[in-house]
Symmetry: C2
Subunit: 292 residues, 2 copies
Amino acid sequence: MKQAFEQQADAYRDQIERYLDRQCFQYPLEPQARLFEAMRYSLLAGGKRLRPVFVMDFCRMCGGDWKAAVPFGAALEMVHTYSLIHDDLPCMDNDDYRRGRLTNHKVYGEAMAVLAGDGLLTAAFGCLAQADFPAQARIQAVEILSRCSGCLGMIGGQVLDIQSEQRLCTEQEVLDIQSRKTGALIRAACQLGVVAGGGSKEQLQFAAEFAVHLGLAFQIRDDMLDRIGDAQTMGKATGMDGQKNTFVRLYGLERCDQLVRQHTQQAIMALKHFDCSEFMKALALELTNRKC
Amino acid sequence: MKQAFEQQADAYRDQIERYLDRQCFQYPLEPQARLFEAMRYSLLAGGKRLRPVFVMDFCRMCGGDWKAAVPFGAALEMVHTYSLIHDDLPCMDNDDYRRGRLTNHKVYGEAMAVLAGDGLLTAAFGCLAQADFPAQARIQAVEILSRCSGCLGMIGGQVLDIQSEQRLCTEQEVLDIQSRKTGALIRAACQLGVVAGGGSKEQLQFAAEFAVHLGLAFQIRDDMLDRIGDAQTMGKATGMDGQKNTFVRLYGLERCDQLVRQHTQQAIMALKHFDCSEFMKALALELTNRKC
């Protein structure tokens, strides 16, 4: 079982890495080579490729050909990466390091980092448009991605996060920030998978339900690891979020642990409306039980 | 004739202003109200709405209902506006004023300006997705907008522009910057109009031809006005581009004047493949003969 899981995860990641690499290396001789280099630097920096895996596996669980969903997965990863580049800028979180490497603007300068982010966001919609699906499915994907990553989704979440930095938030506000800032893109990923796989309207709804609970469990675990984690294991300074509005500050570690279990179970419950969901179930458990 | 032109122009602008206003005021009570305010500040700052007018009139010239093309026009205006917000940032051109008003980041801060730009770019694709056209037309619009505004189009042009600031460019380089930085979005506008109007493949090509020549004539006239214009008429400091790579530096004023006429004529020639092109012809002449 464990072996089958790893094999499937590797197959997904292999496909997405190849596709992303091709997308960002199409024009090495163009005069704007440095822009592509900056985009590659952040896009091909490793990472779990979680959102593309959600896209591809939800496609498969709806009976679709998951390899056809790779461009949809790439679009999600591009949007995720652009948001990290812009969030790291001096005028935002002003981070010098991410995943143990210098942030984009520290290597390429602020102007190029802004443009690399803009370029990735723009290219994401190009990936959706060029995927090998009927026009109706592609335009539905554009609509979902625009909504989830836009002003009422991810960007709105970043605004709320910035606005709340100087004060303690209520429980509802912390939930709202999580649901927009990180939750919305996970929702987009799961729903794009359903669209790619030709799933039903009901499955689109259950994918969102899965995403809401998994996203919440994931974020709560993240906050817990930040508190208890070890600096070396995490590859970044821990305890930095101490002043911020985290679930641990809100609920305490013990209650957080309970909530992670509850939401993981609710996420897994939503999977019963899909076929062959063993992989996604195992992934959900792995993500929410992780130690780093 | 003059009166009919003004009436049509007013009708176009009236529709686009209403639509843009609605798009950015849907959620006044949301906690991220300040983000919408920042978006509105730049999006509803007036301006010629040139790109939306191109969209709507090319739609009409292809026999389509131009009012249905308003969301496509709005998408172009959103992309244009986001590019101005990001270009004005301190890490880019570092401009304090645009069209006589403080730039976005001077009013809302840099973080909000970056996010307002991101929000407008994301919303642009949402506008295309939600327009009342068959899915095939909408996805073709997404594909065109992503390509023209992306790394090989507008964003690439901005990169080239930044890279060339400290040195004198060749003629080919100046042409390349113009064709990408401003030309690509005008091309997208004309082509989106053809898509909206259900035009032929050939018309898509002729729309691009019109856009290339008109964009060039427009930019050369812009460089000329910058040299000879009067500070008060233009509403901005003139002569600021003196050190930069302008067509005036390259060709001199007299040759520039010839080139504007030539390219305007070539643009007008491309219009013979469209019906009822009097409006667009008049617009092309107005734009390239303008005194401010």
